[in-house]
Symmetry: C3
């Protein structure tokens, strides 16, 4: 599998294993270890977490596997996130979901993630959502403190606009290594609002969440989904691939070096996704999906 | 009161006294002097004017006070604006309100402001509205001429987008010292469209107009106003503050160093606003207003 | 006629002759030569083409004239474009119109344009539409190769947003010399979305297509067109000019050095357009068109 250099001393596998649905897979720690070994075997060494996934439980489950097989830790790049505060029975005083990029919250969140994941460092910490209350100076100081302490090696963001990215970057010595954003044939906003062009300009490879639009492409009965499904099916027949594979190939055709996150816990389906990297769509095939998504021709 | 450094040799009080409703207060020049002394006593030394306020009469009324008590001038930072051309009986040939950032108009407007205000310098001159016809080179030359002549010491803008700000800044030697923008719980556009992030990035403190949404928060019967009023009332009870105070505390929580303009002529109400600076809202309280304003939870 | 310096060794006439309707004019090659001589006589030396105009036939027709009168070539600045792939009987395998900014397509398109135009160099090559699949590095390498080979002397873009412009510029040694965009009293988007401010900031003069909104201003029965037509008629009476002329004068009043493209093949109408450069609209007249277009007063 192709590897993408994100910074000095940091490369990601082109495909990333997402763990936000980990609890749905109902794995014992031993099964979890086996699953991780299987995707590492496929070349997928980068894993995506967040403090809040599974109502704050996914990191814990993954940590049990890391404890059981400590040699896994050095074979993976571990990404996790902070700044969303969920309404949860674990935080009974909260009235409303909100964001928090204060030093106190980021530091506490990282400490909890390290404990949950049963590791002593995170490869990449992402701010999960842009926070209107973010003080870039405070975040920069906090990142420096975390790096100094050896708790986090690199930093990035998620769902940030170009301006939000530039603001935070303006206060940092190191480059933000990624911006994790949504992109799929049902939601092409990042290629319309400047996000992808900004990332290409700064040579920052985005991680892509929701490549399959949370399954909406396969099942939703809407004019857009119906059009998209029809053209993906056609293209699948043309190139001899499944609909999933066509979608991953379509995402990978973007020139900004996108890194698709796979959310499946089914190793066969993951292998099929990975095989999509060898499918070369033509520009015209890519634009047929664009037209189906927008419901009109290009200008 | 906290003071905010805007440039070498220029600081503003955190709260700013707005004078656009001055004529409504129906003050004699002596009363006007007393009013100014009272807000200066509270620490509010920065005053906000525009050539057009009160149909071109507010500067005149304030100037009469400055003439009566000449020692006031050195105790205040005097902000005024130019570039809007109002339809007015004073300009009978105008058919339509429009903007004018030509050298001729800016120079004439400043001369009129100096005469009206009975002073020989303006601390900060703002372009009142972005003008599609603005030649940044011509404005830059005009600003340089006004500074050279000692008529204006610093320059800023109002209601400018990041791109408009960058364009003008690209031609200036000195930094624009502020961008005066609208921000309140009914209109959070500046925190959604990149304006505040851009200002934070460039360390430019915005002056905030219409913090109370022109009274709409208190009286308007709309779904948004009703939601916002309800949550502000709740938070007021939680922190022991009036609705005005909660709003000012909410504005001040933004990380871009906002400088709220108070439009009231009632010194008791002004004092209450100023006291809001000691109220520390939690992030969650801030987001409860955000949610009430938008009518949906954060993503 | 005023000339605008776009780069070292490149200036354009303020008005540009557009050739996208060339086939409609039904000219023999001799008549075509005479037409070109006439607009050059008026000072219009810059001509605008694209590979796709007239279903890929306009360049051919113009090339026949250049062959007939080879001395024309050194008297003009020849602009053409690439990257749109039209559905056309000439390309029967295409299912859908799309864009292509690959090296292979740009190189092939330029070679075809040179052959069609019967010349050995293009003064300015534009990317016709922003392409979500554009690799800025690949385009930059391709531009360098074309310049090195002497096939294209300067490069620009068309219909690019500021971010798209910045992305491509970030990889180029030479400055992009123009961005050809739509602007007219029915479509003022470029003066509202930052495009013109960005171009003014970087001192890049835009070529303007569709100044007359494709005739919609003259004939369309819509509230906007009716308002715009009424105010243009009034202003025409005030300044003693035709509606076309008022529109060109209105476009030329923008401070970003716009270069209007004239699409007419009627030399009298072209001469009338050119004469518009001596009409000085007032700011208020300009804003009366703005208000008619938007249907509301300025804020």
């Amino acid at each position: 599998m192709q590897r993408i250099q994100l910074a000095d001393g940091l490369s990601f596998s082109q495909f990333i294993q997402g763990y936000w649905r980990l609890l749905d897979w109902d794995l014992t720690p031993v099964q979890m270890v086996n699953f991780a070994k299987q995707h590492i075997e496929l070349g997928i060494t980068t894993v995506d977490h967040a403090d809040i996934y599974g109502d704050y439980e996914c990191e814990v489950a993954f940590g049990q596997a890391l404890k059981l097989a400590p040699d896994l830790r050095s074979q993976i790049e571990l990404v996790t996130k902070c700044d969303i505060k969920l309404v949860s029975q674990k935080h009974p005083s909260r009235q409303i979901g909100h964001y928090d990029t204060s030093a106190a919250h980021i530091l506490a969140s990282v400490d909890a993630s390290l404990q949950n994941l049963q590791t002593d460092y995170i490869d990449v910490l992402l701010l999960h959502r842009p926070d209107p209350l973010m003080s870039a100076d405070e975040v920069a100081d906090t990142f420096a403190e975390l790096k100094q302490a050896g708790k986090v090696r690199h930093f990035g963001v998620s769902n940030f606009t170009p301006m939000q990215f530039d603001l935070l970057q303006s206060r940092l010595t190191d480059k933000l290594v990624t911006n994790q954003v949504e992109f799929n044939p049902m939601n092409m906003q990042c290629s319309a609002d400047g996000t992808f062009e900004h990332l290409q300009m700064h040579k920052v490879a985005p991680m892509i969440w929701s490549c399959l639009a949370g399954g909406r492409i396969f099942g939703e009965d809407s004019p857009q989904a119906n059009r998209v499904r029809a053209v993906l099916t056609e293209i699948g027949e043309e190139v001899g691939a499944t609909m999933d594979q066509v979608i991953y190939a379509w995402v990978l055709k973007m020139p900004c070096n996108p890194l698709p996150i796979i959310g499946s816990g089914n190793i066969k389906r993951i292998k099929m996704a990975v095989d999509a990297s060898s499918i070369q769509l033509t520009n015209e095939q890519w634009f047929r999906v664009w037209v189906a998504s927008n419901g009109h021709n290009v200008p």
